[in-house]
């Protein structure tokens, strides 16, 4: 990662960032949720050890067909070539009834090492798609870097498309739909980002 000496610009605070636990709109610099007092540390206590995971696709349930996993891995590799700053990882897990997919995705996106280790704060453009086959939920988490470039409603459109495929037990179709929708959103976001902001760092 390289850093230029150009002056940084500040994006407007993302208005639609909500608490992963209770859904309350978060204070931009809040150390904890104003409503439920959620912190990442609390989630550490809740979820415990970080599960083993790989780049691109991790299937903790071991129920997905190997061919589908390999195909998804290939598609995700291609996605990363298109968007080198935004690696998209898919994590499939069976969560128990009390574990919310949004909390788990938030915790895993922060504690797991899916992208570059140095991609922290505004330099983080990582994407994590969590498929909770236990409660049949899907969550998509985006890094700080994508705030202001991608909205929560756009991400909601992506997870809706994913869920539609998962209802038919079509894992490969779900990954394809996720990649397709995200590619469109990120393409536009990239163009807007390059037009509207002063470059600070060339690559992540």
């Amino acid at each position: 990662m390289t850093t230029s000496d150009q002056e940084a610009q500040t994006l407007p605070a993302a208005p639609d960032v909500r608490c992963p636990s209770c859904g309350t709109v978060l204070d931009p610099a809040g150390e904890q949720c104003g409503n439920c007092k959620l912190t990442l540390r609390r989630l550490d206590l809740k979820f415990g050890t970080i599960p083993r995971h790989a780049n691109y696709v991790t299937d903790r349930t071991e129920r997905l067909p190997i061919i589908a996993v390999e195909r998804a891995r290939e598609e995700l590799r291609l996605f990363e070539r298109r968007f080198p700053q935004s690696p998209l990882s898919v994590f499939v897990v069976d969560l128990t009834k009390g574990q919310a997919a949004s909390e788990y995705a938030f915790w895993l996106a922060n504690r797991g090492r899916f992208g570059l280790a140095e991609a922290i704060g505004a330099k983080n453009f990582d994407l994590l798609l969590l498929l909770d086959t236990g409660n049949r939920n899907v969550a998509l988490a985006a890094g700080y870097g994508l705030e202001g470039l991608v909205t929560a409603s756009q991400l909601a459109g992506v997870v809706d498309a994913v869920a539609k495929n998962l209802r038919d037990e079509n894992f490969a179709g779900a990954v394809d739909a996720c990649i397709g929708r995200l590619s469109e959103i990120l393409r536009t976001a990239s163009e807007q980002s390059l037009q509207s902001t002063t470059p600070v760092q060339s690559d992540v």
């Binding site: 940084a8 500040t10 994006l11 639609d16 960032v17 909500r18 608490c19 978060l26 931009p28 610099a29 150390e31 949720c33 912190t39 990442l40 540390r41 290939e74 590799r77 291609l78 070539r81 298109r82 968007f83 080198p84 700053q85 949004s102 995705a105 938030f106 996106a109 922060n110 992208g115 922290i120 505004a122 990582d126 409660n135 049949r136 939920n137 899907v138 969550a139 998509l140 988490a141 890094g143 700080y144 870097g145 705030e147 202001g148 470039l149 929560a152 991400l155 992506v158 809706d160 994913v162 998962l166 209802r167 393409r187 990239s190 980002s193 390059l194 902001t197 600070v200 690559d203 992540v204």
Partner: protein, 131 residues
């Protein structure tokens, strides 16, 4: 006196060599005449012992089915090669564009999280409707 002796010697010499020269010339003429008489006769050739050259019969034409089969195999091979190449090109994003984002100023971290600040969307796929 000396001149006379010399002339005599020359004459003697001519008398010795001229008859043989004339004789040789006559022999040559006779040989040429003989050769001319026999010119029509066939002369022996150096390859007389070799058998007469045989002309090979014209080669059989390749069956049309073979040509079609060969062309089909070539077409299939070319298609496979192109398919694998296009897959490799696609995987390597050879012709694709790379999209980048500008990193803006440091953002305040929320909930003690360093990477993701809570920009999350969820949906339920057990039955219709988002969470």
């Amino acid at each position: 006196m000396f001149k006379r002796i010399t002339l005599a010697l020359v004459l003697i010499a001519c008398g010795m060599f001229l008859p043989s020269a004339v004789l040789r010339s006559e022999e040559t003429d006779a040989w040429i005449k003989r050769w001319q008489q026999n010119a029509a006769a066939s002369s022996p050739t150096p390859f007389a012992s070799l058998p007469p050259r045989q002309i090979a019969p014209p080669a059989k034409k390749m069956p049309r089915s073979w040509i079609i089969a060969g062309l089909s195999i070539a077409a299939v091979a070319a298609t496979l090669l192109l398919a694998f190449s296009s897959r490799a090109w696609r995987a390597a994003n050879v012709f694709g564009r790379r999209y980048r984002f500008q990193v803006v100023a440091e953002k305040p971290m929320r909930l003690g999280a360093a990477r993701c600040g809570g920009l999350i969307a969820t949906a339920h796929f057990g039955s219709a409707g988002r969470e």
